[in-house]
Subunit: 196 residues, 2 copies
DNA sequence: GCGTTCCGTTGACGCTGTCATCTGAACAGA
DNA sequence: TCTGTTCAGATGACAGCGTCAACGGAACGC
């Protein structure tokens, strides 16, 4: 006799994978809804339908679980970048805007997840997932500013977007203080780059 | 009979202020040395020479204590900016470089403190201290790009520096991946601004 | 059918932030 | 000088946390 999961009869291996999936989803959900301090292993277990000790069968500790959540988020972003770069119908400018918009969206709609993704120091798992989006990103920039300058401008753009999100999240980048906003700053910067 | 502090006889009011000072220094020191998880109220109290409950006579809770630490750090940065802006001997470019270097120094030498300073959402105390450096910063930029564009370029520069520090701290901005570094990116950006 | 593997549960431990309570010294006023 | 008040600080207690050791049981290979 095998175990049941969502009504389906599955093997032990599949059951363990399903539990791991549930734990990741539970942790990500709690992070989104209540911030880092809402993510307790007890609550993660409860939401995933298991006990407080179950996570230790899939992750070495709480930090390892959170690292996996961050790595998955980076992977989604990388998937989007790869997909965008491969689309033959969109122009290089549109591809670049789409990639930056993807990062901005995470920062605004899932600020706690975004912070987790940039927590220092990032583990190998996270760094590898984050690096996967670099290829398409630099390639698109190469079409715009030339291959030899693509890395410099790519790092500048990425850092700027990251900084804008951070200042926005902490309440330091407000329209009444700076007479500008995130989109205006990015337009200014991309315009400066386009002039090259 | 009055209390003694560092060998000097002082009033009760002075004693309380000295304790508050010690608590802030202890918290900042623990944060620098061991990161956020090293800052426990018990350890803060011990290092300040008081008990674990003493902080509650000066701060409403642990978060309030950390907020005060962050506000003091912002105040030091603002002091430096004001001082730099008032110096008649340095050029506008040197003033700008000095201000940016001050931010970069905190991010590199006290990364945990830097993260705390940008923790969301920033309280009023922090936002006020952070805003105090905005005046001199925008004024210097006004000398370089014109008053009407100072805010836009100021926000862009600040966001970029913030992003560079964040990516550097999380290990994402490395020379072997991007064929560039923080100083090169900032040179590129300030060069682009200078061309206006 | 049997022994092994391994996912999940449970009790326990130390550590944390926080609160209620208590103590004692510095103060204001007579 | 005596007295009552104020308040910084100490301490016991509590719930919640991450983590681990021990245990149970179902799925597996043979």
């Amino acid at each position: 006799m095998s175990t049941r999961y969502h009504g389906a009869v599955i093997s032990r291996l599949e059951s363990a994978a399903a539990t791991r999936r549930s734990l990741l989803d539970a942790a990500a959900g709690l992070l989104d809804e209540g911030g880092p301090e809402a993510v307790t292993l007890r609550e993660v277990g409860a939401r995933a339908g298991v006990s407080r000790g179950a996570p230790y069968r899939h992750f070495v500790d709480k930090g390892d679980l959170l690292t996996a959540v961050a790595a998955e988020a980076w992977d989604r972003l990388a998937d989007r970048a790869v997909e965008l770069a491969a689309d033959p119908l969109t122009s290089a400018e549109e591809k670049l805007r789409g990639m930056l918009a993807g990062i901005l969206a995470v920062g605004r709609e899932q600020p706690h997840l975004y912070r987790l993704m940039h927590q220092a120091p990032a583990g190998d798992e996270v760094l590898r997932a984050a690096s996967r989006s670099q290829g398409p990103f630099v390639a698109v920039l190469g079409d715009l500013v030339g291959k030899d300058q693509a890395y410099r401008y790519g790092a500048l753009l990425l850092a700027s977007v990251h900084g804008i999100i951070g200042m926005e999240a902490s309440g330091q980048l407000t329209a009444d203080k700076w007479h500008t906003d995130a989109d205006d700053i990015l337009t200014l910067l991309t315009g400066m780059i386009g002039d090259r």
